[in-house]
């Protein structure tokens, strides 16, 4: 060893970088969502899809009429196709998702285009636990109308 009163830091660095590499590789960054939702809990163990999905985020609708709906797709191509011709086409390149100003009117068209762009996509519904049933139901009916068969509703593990 060197000076005697000095500690060799090399093994420490080894460990630190090993852990660092591990966390860097396992981390998946969630895209920042503008609408914060608290999802309900269920004891389902099925995991959310990794790719090819369309997400519809529904906010808390405790204030009447102000339900916010954000639509997003994980693939760039589908996003561009889905929002083509809408006022949101400029923002379609971003990964953040698009908040619809008038979702009742705009959503069917966008979802239909998204499904046509890639019919193998699944649809994911992330609604706030305090959302009203009729809002969620309306959205589910829209999904059905554009021929999505199953919906995956995001929940958290039961505590």
């Amino acid at each position: 060893m060197h000076g005697g009163d000095e500690v060799d830091l090399a093994p420490l660095v080894d460990i630190a970088f090993l852990l660092l590499t591990f966390f860097m590789m396992t981390t998946v960054f969630r895209t920042n969502e503008e609408v914060k939702v608290e999802v309900p809990s269920s004891n389902s163990a099925q995991k959310e899809p990794q790719k090819k999905y369309v997400t519809v985020v529904v906010s808390d609708s405790s204030d009447k009429g102000s339900t916010r709906v954000v639509v997003n797709m994980d693939e760039y191509k589908t996003r561009v196709i889905a929002f083509e011709g809408t006022p949101y086409s400029k923002d379609a390149a971003g990964t953040k998702g698009i908040e619809l100003k008038d979702w009742r009117k705009e959503m069917p068209e966008i979802l239909l285009r998204a499904r046509q762009a890639d019919p193998s996509q699944v649809i994911v519904l992330k609604a706030d636990k305090n959302a009203k049933f009729y809002v969620v139901n309306e959205i589910m009916l829209t999904m059905k109308k554009v021929k999505f068969d199953n919906v995956q509703m995001i929940t958290q593990m039961e505590k």
């Binding site: 860097m24 396992t26 609604a127 929940t155």
Partner: protein, 194 residues
């Protein structure tokens, strides 16, 4: 500065600068070492490594959210496809505005009012009914019960998911969700007050 002569001269130089002999020796020793091994101070690197490590540790979320998969409902105006079912094998669950659960078997009638059940009992009741239907001699084909879940428009999404979760745990495979019609909703509210 590798010869012993040089080192000696250096110690003398340091001493002349006012350093004690021991201090001067230490300086000499240090210089000697850095010459031989070109030692790099790793401490800043460790700092950075741990900083990044902490960052990734804090931002990582291992538990991916779960999903609850279900078929999408049809619109409640008769436009969807319909399948004839024996009303005897239908279980209707109604959820009121406040999240109270009511259940009745078969067709609703004067002698078959929806019964209020506790949320905790939903699973058990559904499972019991399902078993009874499966064992019914009339049910020769062993067809599963059909569960209709009628939910008030003002009910929270949370209540809907939790109730559906209980129903699925009760073993139900054929089911549908519908929004309560206005008159049904009123009736249910009245029942709840009783």
């Amino acid at each position: 500065m590798s010869s012993a002569e040089n080192r000696g001269r250096e110690v003398k130089h340091k001493m002349r600068e006012g350093k004690s002999n021991a201090q001067a020796r230490k300086v000499r020793k240090y210089n000697e070492k850095s010459d031989e091994t070109s030692h790099v101070d790793l401490a800043p690197m460790v700092d950075i490594a741990f900083l990044l490590l902490t960052f990734f540790m804090l931002t990582t979320s291992f538990a991916k959210p779960n999903v609850f998969q279900m078929g999408l409902p049809e619109k409640n105006d008769g436009s969807g496809k319909s399948t004839p079912v024996n009303p005897k094998f239908v279980l209707t669950i109604q959820i009121s505005k406040t999240g109270a659960v009511f259940m009745h078997r078969g067709l609703e009638g004067p002698n078959n009012e929806p019964q209020r059940i506790k949320f905790e009992d939903v699973r058990k009741q559904v499972a019991n009914y399902r078993k009874a239907v499966m064992d019914d001699p009339e049910n020769a084909k062993k067809s599963d019960i059909v569960t209709v879940v009628k939910i008030d428009r003002e009910t929270k999404y949370d209540t809907m998911i939790e109730t559906l979760n209980e129903i699925f745990d009760g073993g139900v495979t054929k089911w549908a969700t519908v929004e309560l019609k206005a008159d049904e909703s009123e009736k249910l509210a009245a029942l709840e007050k009783k």
